[in-house]
């Protein structure tokens, strides 16, 4: 039991605070970063041809380490959630978001031996491994602040997203009817027009598709100007939530008007 607790402290990011405890965490993060670099370099054919074996080696080591880490995390889950029964604690870890990412980052390696599915799909799945980079931030106070702000503004942001969705659908259907005759190739269907609408509303403007008729240009201008409003709305929402959150942190220490701490009220 003593060994289990020690291993748990090595793995756990929040409770372990002795110097050596973070060594394991940093080692795994470096391995993840090495994996990201490997995936990048593998995509260059000439580099892959030369160093393919090295990349395979890194991958093999990573998978072994990640597999061991996953088994340990399942094993010590009862220490992480001491209020739950051992089985429930383990299930809680396994089905948590980070637990599923941990599993999916090693599963693709074992899957090909289990069944003959298309390798390409597996390769895409392997990208989820990168999500583990998020763990690097777990401690950060700033991340928690940003997280709180995003959680508080979730509803307002969702309404904005819904309004954007309606605007995109309306704009693309209108533009399809306006431009279809003049550019039957570019505005072949509403899907193409939707691609134009997204590029315009977000002000990306690749330039692969744009209206050429006077009416279409007018609509495009309106959509582009509304795009500014689309930026202004979430910015205002997030700014407001930020200021509120920062002031809340302030007030809880000392009231600026009566000088007493708020807890004494």
């Amino acid at each position: 039991m003593k060994l289990k607790k020690k291993i748990f402290l090595l793995i756990d990011e929040e409770r372990g605070n002795k110097k050596g405890d973070h060594f394991v965490e940093y080692f795994i993060c470096i391995l993840i970063l090495l994996n990201v670099i490997t995936i990048f370099l593998e995509s260059y054919r000439s580099i892959n041809e030369q160093y393919g074996l090295l990349f395979y080696g890194i991958e093999l080591v990573s998978i072994i380490v990640f597999s061991i880490e996953y088994i340990i995390r399942v094993w010590v889950a009862d220490l992480q959630y001491p209020t739950l029964s051992p089985i429930r604690a383990r299930l809680k870890y396994i089905f948590s978001f980070l637990g599923l990412v941990d599993l999916l980052s090693i599963l693709p390696f074992y899957l090909p031996y289990l069944m003959k599915i298309d390798l390409r799909v597996v390769r895409v799945l392997r990208l989820l491994r990168l999500l583990r980079l998020l763990k690097l931030n777990r401690h950060s106070k700033s991340l928690r602040l940003i997280g709180t702000v995003l959680k508080n503004t979730k509803n307002d942001i969702l309404v904005t997203v819904f309004m954007v969705f309606i605007l995109l659908v309306l704009a693309s259907t209108l533009m399809y009817n306006i431009e279809n005759e003049a550019q039957p190739e570019a505005f072949n269907n509403i899907g193409q027009a939707l691609w134009w609408a997204v590029a315009t509303l977000t002000t990306v403007g690749y330039g692969d598709i744009y209206p050429i008729t006077g009416f279409g240009k007018f609509l495009s201008g309106i959509i582009a100007l509304l795009g500014i409003g689309i930026v202004a709305l979430p910015t205002g929402i997030i700014s407001s939530a930020y200021i509120e959150e920062v002031q809340k942190g302030k007030v809880s220490k000392e009231c600026p008007h009566c000088g007493k701490s708020v807890e004494s009220h």
Copy 2:
């Protein structure tokens, strides 16, 4: 009268709060979404050729349901606005924004039998049906907050829009005079230059039209930099209104400093 009230609660989005009441609302929303998908898929020629009959069927059912809904809404309008006389209540619904949208979303189907107008125009009118999607949000507290913010900032935003309009007119007339000689094709008239000005000020930048002379590039840079200010202004306005609105909601409950409710002052 009892049946009429029941039907009214089924149709009305705000007063009906029993479980079954929202069923009608959701059914109509799903039908609207189905219509949007149909309009999208119809624009793909190959899909339309294969499933054209299915799409026609969905459309027929939708029109029938929407027509019945419209008639009911007109019928129960006197319950929705109990303070008005029955006729005024009905006229109020018919000429309300959502009432007109309800009518316009079914009218195009009946119109072709009344008169032989161009079908294309009718098809564009049918897009207004999508506006009904806005109803999905009626309850939302966030939507009301966003609505209040937009209403409060309306005047300031309008002044910004007017300033943008003047800036666009000035920039496009200047650019036409600068670039017309160097690019007589692209900057053929001030309308073309206006298209460039909108694309630049909103930072969309499709790349179909841009200055090539030194002077034109200088003006383009100034306009693009002013585009940043154009984003900053409405964002500042909306942020300010948001913070004000959120704090108003806070203060009206309890003063955080003296613990008394604000109404007691």
Copy 3:
């Protein structure tokens, strides 16, 4: 003297508040808008060929009206600035920004008869006439608020503009050295690189010039990401000034904490 005062109230935008007084103001604004439309339509060769005479007529009428207006404004300037001596009041109007615009909007018409200068330059000068559109807003409370905010943030915005200027110069010189060899045509000189830097930092991205080397793309990405910061900085500045200004207006009515009006302090 009585007639002069009456005429002054017809012309003056702020003091005249009887119904008929605004008629003159609106008439001149409509004439200005008509002029803007004329300038736009004149740039279309086919329209200009057909309606050239009509456009010339509108222009002639406008010039006559604007000339009379200018003479009247100079004449009644002593009523507008009653604390100044008649001559100083007139000079103050003539050399005020709007006074100069008033003069420049009519001068080009008389100039060609005075000296044989290039007509194109005169045509560009005529665009200043559009600046009179700004007058339409003079009353607006929102415009005054935006004006106050812009005045309060002037210094901070100027520092931001200076930082943008340094960033642009640094980025363009660096990019010229990086890309000149790979694209000797596109990145022919630092001026071209500056054009790229402006298009990237403001996120316009026309697509006529962009790096193709790995190093250049890396620098371009950094500049584009800094472009987000360039938007965030003025937005934060303006938001802050807005909130301050709006709260100042609030506080002057009633203090939210002690319930007394601020004037009683």
Copy 4:
């Protein structure tokens, strides 16, 4: 010693406040600006051929002045940091950021005679000279406010940058797998996909690379919409810090509600 103090006041930007003291500062700033213009004009081959000798002259004079300035700054560093020992004061200046820039802006001129390194690298180094333009702002109160805001928000901005980094890596790897088959040329490796991801997330959208498959366009739309969030987040952070900083400056003078200075609490 008296002469040394006088020279120090001429060079120092903060302590010298007599009229003549700023003359040296302005002279050096003008020389720096002249250098920037020279670097720009040198890049135009035709101009460089004609005025090459003049540019060389300006450069020579600049280097001499900058060298003398650097030696003086090292010499009077003990007056700038009176609490440190003369040697430590000098080392502090030499290894300060502006000290290093001062050195690097003159070093490239002497280096070629010391060793035969590639001239191109030296030319790029010379660009650092432009950084001295930052000195022009040293006094500015606004710059200090912006500096404080940027320092206060550093952690939050860094977390945002890290989130952007993860998003870019994920998006580019996904897009490479989606588009590689359809566009083997454009999406040849993940590096190319990263270039696309940066251009899309920052909404620059040059248009040299963009998805053509339906799946790729869908992902591109999501990334572009997230790009709006990427703008909203730092803007909210900076707005909040700005408002806090401005209010801090207000409160520290006088409480607007009870009229007492805050220090008396």
